[in-house]
Symmetry: C2
Subunit: 354 residues, 2 copies
DNA sequence: CTGAAAGCGCTTACAG
DNA sequence: CTGAAAGCGCTTACAG
């Protein structure tokens, strides 16, 4: 292991010796170069450069009881929150913090345990749980225990304000249905996301409530799992002649599956069936037909999450989100008015050739 | 900051006091419960449980000079290596290591600097750079410097063996062209990936070499950037009557763009134009037409990367990859023999309605 | 099998 | 402006 060229990193003492000062002075230089008299500063500067010295961050943390590191926990899955992360990293770096991403696996219980270990390991100053991870009830346990460091759950602006109550974080599903209704659609299907995720549950609930509120009809909810296959299966499971003309999918991938499933039954999209997704994934922009969807302001989510976490760490009041995060509907080729004969998805089937 | 309910985490000394033993004994208990005599062990066990004690990992690391943490560095981008990460995490956990994911931003220079800082911070025992990140020449600098900890670059099996020489990591491009050629295709187009990535460069090089080797024709290489738009633009840039019948895209997203671009010119896929992607993204499976592509064995990549890193850390010889990683071609609806009249992508254009 | 002592590499009062 | 001393919470020889 100790090979010839392998230098051990130099310590603050070695720098001090080379500079001819005490290690206290070197430490001071590290904290604030201007606290040294110029002549001393030059000597230390030289020694640091010569030895290419970097402070041992573990030792520093041990002494200061701070790490300047923030953990973002998430579950690796089909929907990796890359854009939230990028924005969160940038925000954290600006505040002088490093980000570490920790993926936690297993059930809610195992995940909560892992988060608690992390919180109490002394290795990070705070934890941001992206909303894509579901620690559910376990997060309440975490709250009541004292973990020593703040844990913040990233949520959408709407969820945070609780303004929309039951609609929290899925209000756009209501807008989608209203829009489709205004185009003339009356019979809907929802391909739900994994119900172990809050986002999946909320979208399903808002779907049902909006159908009810507007006096529309639902041919049912297909309990999917965010996959393309669930979209295919949802359509395949529909009885002939059900008369559905619009599908609200919980995510873009499921929506693409719905379109494929529709094609397999000879239904045209959007001729016979309108399909709405959620995510604004890049694929949907180029798909045939391109996908109507919900563009999520992931950057704000990541940014605001870090801001709230930093506020808690520093003991400041929770900040107002800089900009109201906008989850806006994007209308593309997969939605249109329903066919004149509302039963084109009925028993007689195919109204489009290939 | 110090709120009423906020307990400070307990220390090994407090456990020792409660158990009526020395903190040395508690530490010993933490390392190996069987090294204590049963009666003592019970007392310590009780104290640990009562105080819900967790060792401060920062202090432990400081003392042992090991962290049992591995960093995986990557650049956040359109192709997030979720599956490699999941496999890498699992492998690391089995070996008793925690994984931390660090995203490094900026140019190659800035990224290399960030990696060096990390390596010398004492916060991790080793670093795995997923091949999706390009530290290029900077990685050589990193090698020559002594960073104190091992850094391993994750590469595909082929890259590692250097068996294929120039074809490293992109051999499947050759297979794709051979297959398309066997179907009767003669004129090709390559939509290249970002040339600042090794994978982008290799695929382009193998494309050109294979075209040459098989005596085929290329109407050119469109220098793309992994996006769907680059696929659209590549097709739009083609002169009328160029006679191309097959497109080899550097990734699935570009391939989807190509299909959309073809449709915009009235070309049918695969009727007039065959399109091959690379990635086996889930979208391509459900797209219309579904996408022929290359399935990458990302799990093996992640697993093998960690195995090699652990071997270096422990000073063992580099392990043979458990299974030869197989990047296999998947043939779906987007490829077929060329049209009988080979100039269907020519000036007269549209051979398919809608 | 157990305890007293040293020390990992830093930072931060406290003196001067 | 600078230095000597204490200490962050652990682990690990070294004695007993």
């Amino acid at each position: 292991m100790s090979e010839p060229g392998e230098k051990r990193p130099s310590t603050i003492h070695e720098v001090a010796r080379l500079a001819g000062v005490s290690h206290t002075t070197v430490s001071r230089y590290l904290q604030d170069k201007d606290s040294l008299k110029p002549q001393t500063r030059v000597k230390v500067e030289f020694a640091v450069k010569t030895l290419d010295y970097r402070p041992n961050l573990v030792a520093r943390s041990m002494r200061t009881r701070r790490t300047n590191r923030l953990a973002i926990v998430l579950a690796t899955g089909p929907h990796f929150p890359g854009r939230q992360l990028a924005a969160a990293s940038e925000t954290a770096h600006q505040a002088g913090y490093q980000i570490e991403i920790v993926s936690v696996e297993g059930g809610p219980k195992a995940r909560a345990a892992r988060i608690e270990d992390l919180a109490r390991s002394g290795q990070v100053d705070g934890i941001l749980a992206l909303s894509s991870i579901d620690i559910g009830a376990a997060s309440i346990d975490l709250k009541t225990k004292s973990l020593g460091i703040p844990i913040v759950r990233s949520e959408s602006y709407d969820e945070r304000l609780h303004v929309l109550g039951e609609l929290a974080g899925a209000a756009e599903i209501g807008e989608i249905i209203e829009h489709l209704s205004s185009l003339g659609h009356r019979r809907f299907l929802h391909v739900a996301g994994d119900q172990s995720f809050a986002s999946g549950r909320n979208r399903k609930r808002v779907y049902l409530e909006t159908i009810e509120r507007l006096g529309l009809e639902s041919v049912g909810v297909y309990d999917g799992d965010w996959t393309g296959q669930s979209g295919v299966d949802a359509i395949a499971s529909l009885p002939d002649g059900c008369g559905v003309t619009a599908v609200v999918a919980a995510c873009d991938l499921a929506a693409v599956g719905v379109i494929r499933g529709a094609r397999a039954r000879g239904w045209s999209v959007p001729g016979d069936l309108s399909v709405f997704g959620w995510d604004d994934d890049e694929y949907g922009r180029y798909a045939l037909p391109s996908l109507s969807t919900v563009a999520v302001d992931r950057e704000s989510q990541g940014r605001d999450g870090i801001h709230r976490l930093l506020a808690e760490i520093l003991g400041k009041p929770a900040p107002e989100p800089s900009v109201r995060s906008v989850n806006r509907l994007i209308h593309r080729e997969s939605t249109a008015p329903p066919p004149l004969s509302a039963d084109s998805t009925g028993a007689d089937g195919r109204s489009e050739v290939q």
